[in-house]
Subunit: 357 residues, 4 copies
Amino acid sequence: MKKIDVCIIGARSLSSGSLIKLLLQHDRVNIKMLVSDKAGEDIQKIHPFLHGILEKNTEKYDPAKIIDNCDVVFMHKHHGEALNKTGELASLSSKKKKDVKFIDLSADFRLKDKNLYDEWYKFAHTQPQLLKKAIYGLTELYRDKIKNATLVANPGCYPTATILGLTPLLKNRLVDNSQSIVIDVLSGVSGAGKLPNGVNLAIDVEQNVIPYKIGRKHQHIPEIEQELCNMLGEKVTVTFSPHVLPFKYGILSTSYVKLKNAYEWDDIHKLYKKMYANESFIRILDNDVYPQVKDVEGTNFCDIGFSVDKKTRMCVVISAIDNVIKGASGQAIQNMNVMCGFNESEGLPYGSVLRKH
Amino acid sequence: MKKIDVCIIGARSLSSGSLIKLLLQHDRVNIKMLVSDKAGEDIQKIHPFLHGILEKNTEKYDPAKIIDNCDVVFMHKHHGEALNKTGELASLSSKKKKDVKFIDLSADFRLKDKNLYDEWYKFAHTQPQLLKKAIYGLTELYRDKIKNATLVANPGCYPTATILGLTPLLKNRLVDNSQSIVIDVLSGVSGAGKLPNGVNLAIDVEQNVIPYKIGRKHQHIPEIEQELCNMLGEKVTVTFSPHVLPFKYGILSTSYVKLKNAYEWDDIHKLYKKMYANESFIRILDNDVYPQVKDVEGTNFCDIGFSVDKKTRMCVVISAIDNVIKGASGQAIQNMNVMCGFNESEGLPYGSVLRKH
Amino acid sequence: MKKIDVCIIGARSLSSGSLIKLLLQHDRVNIKMLVSDKAGEDIQKIHPFLHGILEKNTEKYDPAKIIDNCDVVFMHKHHGEALNKTGELASLSSKKKKDVKFIDLSADFRLKDKNLYDEWYKFAHTQPQLLKKAIYGLTELYRDKIKNATLVANPGCYPTATILGLTPLLKNRLVDNSQSIVIDVLSGVSGAGKLPNGVNLAIDVEQNVIPYKIGRKHQHIPEIEQELCNMLGEKVTVTFSPHVLPFKYGILSTSYVKLKNAYEWDDIHKLYKKMYANESFIRILDNDVYPQVKDVEGTNFCDIGFSVDKKTRMCVVISAIDNVIKGASGQAIQNMNVMCGFNESEGLPYGSVLRKH
Amino acid sequence: MKKIDVCIIGARSLSSGSLIKLLLQHDRVNIKMLVSDKAGEDIQKIHPFLHGILEKNTEKYDPAKIIDNCDVVFMHKHHGEALNKTGELASLSSKKKKDVKFIDLSADFRLKDKNLYDEWYKFAHTQPQLLKKAIYGLTELYRDKIKNATLVANPGCYPTATILGLTPLLKNRLVDNSQSIVIDVLSGVSGAGKLPNGVNLAIDVEQNVIPYKIGRKHQHIPEIEQELCNMLGEKVTVTFSPHVLPFKYGILSTSYVKLKNAYEWDDIHKLYKKMYANESFIRILDNDVYPQVKDVEGTNFCDIGFSVDKKTRMCVVISAIDNVIKGASGQAIQNMNVMCGFNESEGLPYGSVLRKH
């Protein structure tokens, strides 16, 4: 069985570490190149959990070498930096008539309206052509397009959990869109980066809850609104409050939507089960059972539970993912599997047990 | 300076431990009796942090002894159990013409409509007369009534944080009451009790988020609705989602209300500052600053911050307390201070610095 | 490729949950039976992380059914309870001329001197014949015997980390045995069980360190001394202090031994590298690098680092494992692999990358 | 009652925050000046828990202003930086014939042998005269000298816990000094500073144990050895292994010493009780009870428990403190109280209950 060769650009990041860990256990993948601004470092020193498992040094960014040697490129750079590198590599790949596939884990290709980059990310998008071709990589929603994509924009962690939780309500037009959808999200510190920023030192995070970017501030808002709007066919506005909490991995998203009618829990449940019937990584919980971060930690699952109050017609949807896996590295591999024609769950935790696609 | 003698019934509980710790540092209080179902235990063994500080054994519940010896009784029993003991003691106190004051930390005297006990607590209230006389002990709201009260019903932890956060919006009639107020609350494990219940073992709580009683389930809902309704003069319905998280002490409440008009942050801020101008324990934060649990831990403060989105007219109010102090023992002492004519902040952390009442 | 059928007795326990999780990803294993005192429960309810992955109910203990249907039995019962069940099953297996293999995760077959059970576990050993045949399942030390064993006594978590850390020093006779080896061990709460015991409630464990069974008290002492003594050929006495700490998975063991001579770090390092050269699951760290629990979490690794002080001749050996994996379920699978003739790392994390045996 | 005016130099640090918090509740103290490299900052922004409690800006370091206006100076600067500032201030105070008292929380005046600074702190001590006059501020050991001291060197956190735990054994000459005393210490992250260093990011600390400076590396070794040596009158060598763990406040020190004879627990216990009979802040625990970090958190206590094994003659002493309070700010106040002739427990938690000195 021929293996594909992959390159990871930005190999020092936390989610690159997670990606390497998973790819090492993927039978169809060979980790060919690890690219980093800081070249020549032993990857075992950067990610000590790799000690004895992967002997490889980081190397400098060399576009030609990447395109000549790799089949898939995972781009792990900061927003605003990824788009130019991806642009350069994509155009080189095309020039060399190679069919290299790109999975970008930054936000640089997620928003279809390029003006939103000025507004939310404070940079002008320099690759509008590529942006048009990029497919939003929420696998469950865009599987068919991802199959033939050259560039997939891997979704943000909050959007992944939230959108998957709300999709059945919106696609089935159950939502009273006259009031703002409230989304209250809780994230572990792995989402907070490694540079001191007031929300990632243990002394600040332990025994604490840190609300941040409250109001219309967080850059994942346009990403969520874009997708909800696509489903409903009309403008959707969300009120979005993120909090950092003292656990490492995971996101729990609690969304509050008003339903158009006084549905029963069972009605809604049937729609969820139906919509996600063939999905390996989505688990719909039973009545009165709600997702817990611990049950998805280390996996590519998105667990979803919900309550319906007939009197107020308020539906509370709770969804949980591992932010570093389904919210980053795992979904990236899920997308790679789709792009490369592998089983969609190949190389992911419980992959062999889960094969539905 | 004469000290008052106090009795704590239910001395083994976590919040009794906190109450003892605080009362030991209160210059006007003598801890006279510690009552427990399990009599004869050394309180230093029950609460090891008291080692060397308080040498006292628990004793059995003896109504006459309590009434004869104590000025203030703190009742720390489970819901449904506190009301009969309080009834018995209050009637004995009255018969003996003693002016003993009672502060009940259970829910048994918080709800004015006694039928709510059948619905939410699953017991029939046996002390309707006493219930009428009980004052809801959210000190900031009912100070004047507490001054002359014999029985104060100390509020629940979630209601304390949430109601204090919402009061200025409701009292000033800024709220569009046509849509359900969404309240998303996060609690530390100290609120989860000591009997195994799926939400208090370290192995279940660490690295986890546990949503529970989602939908119209949690018993603090009627308490919050009663008070919000009192302010607004009309029925208020809340959607309330509690979560247990891996920290010990604290509650963070994030409330979402739709405002009637497109107010500016500054307008709202002025109202908050004005309403709480004379309060020692309420701190209104600056623009773009939000409460963090760590900054109220170990104190009787309630910190409040909020954002206003003019477009959607959604106001997000975040309030934080130490659930065991402002949410239980500290507020109980605050109430005791008011009932006994002491300075309201006496014996509480930073008390001497804070004196406003 | 034919799969073996396995039975897990005591399926509700935390380490059974871990065992199921790993076995599900083992290509050569079919989970045939899940036995529990509480029969008829959906395993997905007991271990919610299994939702959607394994649909199977627990069943009652039925010796004949187990022996007729299974090739390997994992015994997860409390000390003193496992030995009789194992005895019954082993004798039935022998009577039926079946070659069922047993891996006991309790302490019941770990100590060769049966009198130690009276002393340390407070029960009389009822299966002395079986005890003689049992092989102590520290795979790295007893691989050859395990290959042909019918019954393997899976080691305790503290002994696994500690013994692996000390083996090269003792086998190479570098230790001055005139002074007690000091072993200071730190365990996550997953080692503390689920019944309330003062060391497993979140409110007791968070923000805390809990030393327990200090002095000559902990039941893992004779297990460690037995193995160290086997290596040295003389009596070894250890001073052993366990502590419970606020993390979920992992053990870090810090051992202090006096060396016979003033060795250099490099000398010792060579001996460690040589002794463990062919081991998949043992990683010897570089100079001035020490194991951290996070780097072994979720794996079957034992990481080892050490310092040598030439002046005092004190050698500090630090070893870390995931207590639930290398300290229980993972090592059980490692032993199963050896007993069944599979690759030793088969089905374990990074298994395909690690194959040395 | 006249208040003294105090100045805190280095007001941004974590332990300065703790110091301010405690001093605010000290009836005899007025916080006069807060000095910081970054002048003009609102202290409420630096330490948000001070919101509404202390309105004061930091100011630049101005020696004359400090000496003219303050009675006590707390020096919170990094090692190597504190000594020159202290030297400058002390000499100015002397020149101006003012009796300003200095409490230095750095290591710069703790080691009597100035050559140790070259060896362990990598700087040459520039204030040898002042070093001679400085008193080591372990209050329980040097109370009489502290009374008349101008400069007190506040002890390190690890040394405080460890030395207090070992003192009765050494002063009573019970220790077999032919073998190295093993000291295994566990610290919360508040000891790890706020600059990124691999041991203080939440993502690195949570769910982890981090051994660091293993072997003869940690700068607290000479401090501990100096004091143990002073007690015994002969050279003492310790083997010292620090670990950072996922809790915020606290140190637990587990020391292993070989006793000269096979003493009973009761014998040792009597000596401990006797030695510390008049100490407010030292609590000797009962047989089979060991200190837990949670019971000293937020206090100035040092809790001590121990076991004795007659066979091996090994004594395991466990002591716990809050590293930021008894290990820094609290002990600094305890020293200030002694220097100023106040009650020793004044202004410290439970102070009024504890007065023994």
